[in-house]
């Protein structure tokens, strides 16, 4: 039974209309009851394969067979009919609708043309209970935490009767605890005879939970292994095509006075919710302060306040003694604040504009690049070339629209732009999110170099491993408050996780240097 093949792909290929050959001759099979991981660098074609299995994209070559029958999947409905379900890499939720409506959408119970809301709520509650994911069917999605939203995504698929679950990077935004819960739920599903495919960039997870791994690189399958048999380093090598030297950043805590001091930052959201509650911390020049927290607990808000996008209701942050919060982005930037936004595509670039015009966005008013409001395009061009060389951006020309670059290269341009301003304080939100291992290493090194040049850095990352590896000190945010403050070398993922989930808290914790960081003994 364990070896029954429920789905097989053979020689699958996909060329997008724009000519990108995203997938080339991929073959693999899925067995009943297994957890099958797919790993690979950014742009390796993992999501594309999933989309083809779900009828969102049509393969240009190759065959898909479900339960031994060759099938053609032209719409998601075809896949749903074959009990295949996809949980997207990005959340696909209707924020203004209820949990039940989200879960049932596409297969709503009806009486005639009318929705049978009572039945819908009942059924959703039943499904949730069956799979041990309790959730209020009537709640509005917009009000839920990320972990809960993730659960809705999975319930959506289960509600429609999926037996093969395709999960595209489900753990990217979860804490270790939430991840563990998720894995437990997945295990439960496979014990019921379901098959789970999951994509991830976190190789430790693969080792932890997967029965089998398929490794992809450049649109092709480069390895098929059982994780029991290999090391993480080996899988990474298969992904990247070369061995990775994984040396943690060298720490040096300078004994200088803090250059950035934030005191009692309080932010109240437009809906009246408290987003930040008296957040205080210091950062020395040449120091990285890490922020750990589950999404939705104030990290994004903190970044937005510090970059000048939002005005705090109370409190202020100073740089070299000058207040820079609550005065707008331009004022903050003028004082040497730079920021890497967490949502690269949405906030970090203009996809249709050239690398050059994206690069100059932070400093176009600098006399280096314009005089009396007239742009100096030669200067911009020269500086862009310099940055491209320095950061190793892979592109044919500085005039290429940035949207044509891969995610990792886009991020290099974003970092390049912010670093070129020689900031005194950098807020780096998710600097390597969704970037593959190889590129991420490079970006981290750049960050460390910047720190070594004397910049104060606030690092906001959902990747705890990264936070611990790069930071000098770490604060944990929970419901908008700092609940713990650690020296990084004393932090540990599991302990951080407990604080992030609110299971533990240190009363009156803050991130100031005069407050002695705690030791990580619980």
């Amino acid at each position: 039974m364990q070896n029954e093949i429920v789905l097989a792909v053979d020689g699958l290929g996909k060329t997008y209309p724009n000519g990108t050959e995203a997938v080339k001759g991929v073959s693999f099979d899925l067995r009943r009851g297994e957890i099958h991981a797919i790993v690979g660098e950014n742009g390796a074609g993992k999501s594309t394969v999933m989309k083809m299995l779900y009828g969102l994209e049509q393969p240009t070559t190759g065959r898909i067979a479900v339960a031994g029958q060759q099938v053609r999947l032209t719409t998601p409905q075809d896949a749903i009919d074959l009990h295949i379900g996809l949980v997207h890499q990005h959340m696909m939720l209707l924020e203004s609708l209820s949990v039940a409506e989200n879960i049932a959408l596409g297969a709503e119970p009806v009486r005639g043309p009318f929705l049978d809301r009572a039945k819908m709520n009942r059924e959703v509650a039943e499904v949730a209970a069956t799979y041990g994911m309790n959730i209020d069917p009537a709640a509005t999605v917009a009000r839920l935490a990320v972990g809960q939203k993730q659960r809705i995504e999975i319930l959506k698929v289960l509600y429609k009767g999926a037996r093969i679950l395709l999960l595209d990077e489900p753990t990217a935004v979860l804490t270790p605890q939430e991840t563990r819960d998720l894995f437990k739920a997945i295990r439960g599903l496979t014990e019921l005879g379901m098959t789970v495919v999951f994509i991830t960039h976190k190789l430790v997870e693969v080792k932890e939970v997967a029965d089998r791994v398929t490794v992809m690189r450049d649109g092709q399958v480069t390895g098929r292994v059982e994780p029991r048999d290999v090391t993480v380093a080996k899988i990474a090598e298969m992904m990247v095509g070369r061995p990775l030297s994984h040396k943690p950043a060298e720490r040096r805590s300078p004994d200088l006075p803090a250059s950035v001091t934030a005191r009692d930052l309080t932010l109240i959201g437009l809906d009246g919710r408290v987003r930040l509650n008296r957040v205080s911390f210091d950062i020395r020049p040449g120091e990285i302060l890490g922020v750990a927290g589950v999404e939705g607990n104030g990290q994004a808000a903190l970044g937005q306040v510090l970059t000048g996008l939002l005005e705090p209701a109370e409190g202020a942050a100073r740089i070299g003694g000058t207040v820079f919060t609550g005065r707008g982005v331009a004022a903050a930037r003028a004082l040497g604040i730079a920021a890497i936004p967490e949502d690269r595509i949405h906030d970090g670039i203009v996809t249709d504009m050239s690398i050059e015009e994206n690069f100059v966005a932070a400093e176009y008013r600098n006399p280096r690049f314009s005089r009396r409001g007239i742009r100096d395009r030669n200067a911009v061009n020269a500086a862009t070339r310099e940055m491209i060389a320095a950061f190793g951006v892979k592109t044919t020309s500085e005039q290429t629209p940035i949207g044509a670059l891969s995610g990792g290269n886009m991020q290099k341009v974003v970092l390049g732009r912010e670093f070129t301003t020689q900031p005194r304080f950098l807020i780096a939100a998710q600097p390597t999110r969704g970037v593959d291992i190889g590129a991420a290493e490079g970006l981290r090194q750049q960050l460390v170099d910047l720190r070594d040049a004397g910049t104060a850095v606030l690092l906001i990352s959902a990747d705890l491993e990264e936070t611990i590896a790069l930071s000098d000190r770490i604060i944990v945010l929970f419901k908008g408050q700092i609940v713990a403050h650690f020296r990084a070398e004393e932090a540990d993922e599991n302990v951080l996780g407990l604080y992030m989930l609110g299971a533990e808290r240190k009363a009156g914790a803050n991130g100031c240097i005069d407050q002695q960081p705690e030791h990580a003994h619980v």
Partner: protein, 342 residues
């Protein structure tokens, strides 16, 4: 006439009837526009759809009378209504195909549809009747006025159902009132309505759960054509009994504004459309007070703009108040439990 007299005329049942009359075409068109707007498809072509329906309503009824001369006028009118609605939906289909299949920019395609309707109606009018101005030379038939005796007999409010001269309102006036409720039920109680709103909010999310996004947008655009068509045939087969070149006179654009003025809700939109009806009745009657018509015609657009600003202002003030209030409770809490911090 004095101001006092003027306001006395305002408080009569016939004034109420006048508002209903004037509002009906815009209520229909605005509800139609709302449906497509909620499905993520802003319909700038309401004007053209109304116009073409108005035209084919008249022509259809005339044609029916010439083909089946022995049938009843009501039958002619019904054939006309069907022709008008069909034409409006056909035009909606054109918009849908260009937007959904050919990726045409929605707003500009809408503008194109309006030009098409303006040109085509006059061209056909001339081909059919040899007249470019109006269909006065054609015998056309109106849909009837319906007295609802039972309702009219209710004391006090019965007068509202009396219509202009005790014969009740036009069937399409009742239909417009009914349509408000039906559209609400459709949007909030049916499966298609739920899907339609979902498509408008996040089409990608819908696609991944197998909701046929494009098909639903087709339905939404066609429905908006149907409702705008009702507004159109009301103009030429109810409000008036003729077609006149460009007789919609901007009502489709006002309907579009009503959607936003009504904050994209069914009742808000209908209310805003009713307000525009009120404004146009005022425009007609204020003339008696020697107020320049130019001033009167500016009232509705001015109110729309002021209302949009007031909404924004109120929203901002409310959130500011909310933030302030929350800050106070937060500080109070901090004082009560000083050791939340320590």
């Amino acid at each position: 006439m004095t101001i006092v007299e003027f306001f006395q005329t305002l408080l009569t049942a016939s004034f109420f009837a006048a508002i209903l009359r004037a509002a009906t075409p815009m209520v229909f068109a605005a509800l139609g526009g709302l449906i497509s707007e909620l499905a993520g498809v802003i319909n700038v072509a309401l004007e053209g759809m109304m116009l073409i329906a108005a035209f084919f309503g008249v022509v259809g009824s005339t044609w029916a009378a010439s083909v089946w001369p022995e049938a009843s006028p009501l039958f002619f009118a019904l054939v006309g209504a069907a022709a008008g609605l069909g034409a409006a939906m056909l035009l909606a289909l054109v918009l849908a195909v260009f937007y959904l299949e050919f990726d045409a920019n929605l707003i500009i395609a809408g503008v194109g549809i309006n030009i098409l309707a303006a040109g085509l109606t006059v061209f056909l009018l001339f081909s059919i009747s040899g007249d470019k101005g109006s269909s006065a030379g054609l015998t056309s038939f109106a849909l009837p006025t319906l007295p609802l005796r039972l309702l009219q007999d209710i004391p006090v409010i019965g007068g509202l159902f009396a219509g202009a001269n005790g014969n009740g309102h036009h069937v399409l006036v009742y239909a417009a009132l009914l349509a408000i409720g039906l559209v609400w039920v459709f949007l909030h109680k049916t499966r298609l309505g739920l899907r339609l709103r979902a498509v408008g909010e996040n089409p990608d999310a819908c696609r991944t759960v197998g909701v046929p996004v494009k098909r639903i947008q087709y339905v939404a655009i066609l429905l908006s054509g149907f409702l705008a068509g009702l507004g159109g045939i009301y103009l030429s087969m109810g409000y008036l009994t003729l077609f006149q070149a460009n007789m919609t006179a901007g009502r489709g654009f006002l309907a579009l504004a009503a959607i936003f003025l009504g904050a994209r809700s069914v009742f808000g939109t209908a209310g805003a459309a009713a307000f525009f009806g009120l404004a146009s009745v005022f425009a007609a009657q204020l003339g008696l007070l020697d107020v320049p018509t130019a001033v009167v015609f500016s009232v509705a657009p001015l109110v729309t703009i002021l209302a949009l600003l007031a909404f924004a202002w109120r929203r901002q003030r409310r959130t500011r108040a909310q933030v302030a209030a929350e800050l106070i409770t937060l500080n109070a809490r901090r004082k009560d439990t000083p050791d939340a911090q320590a």
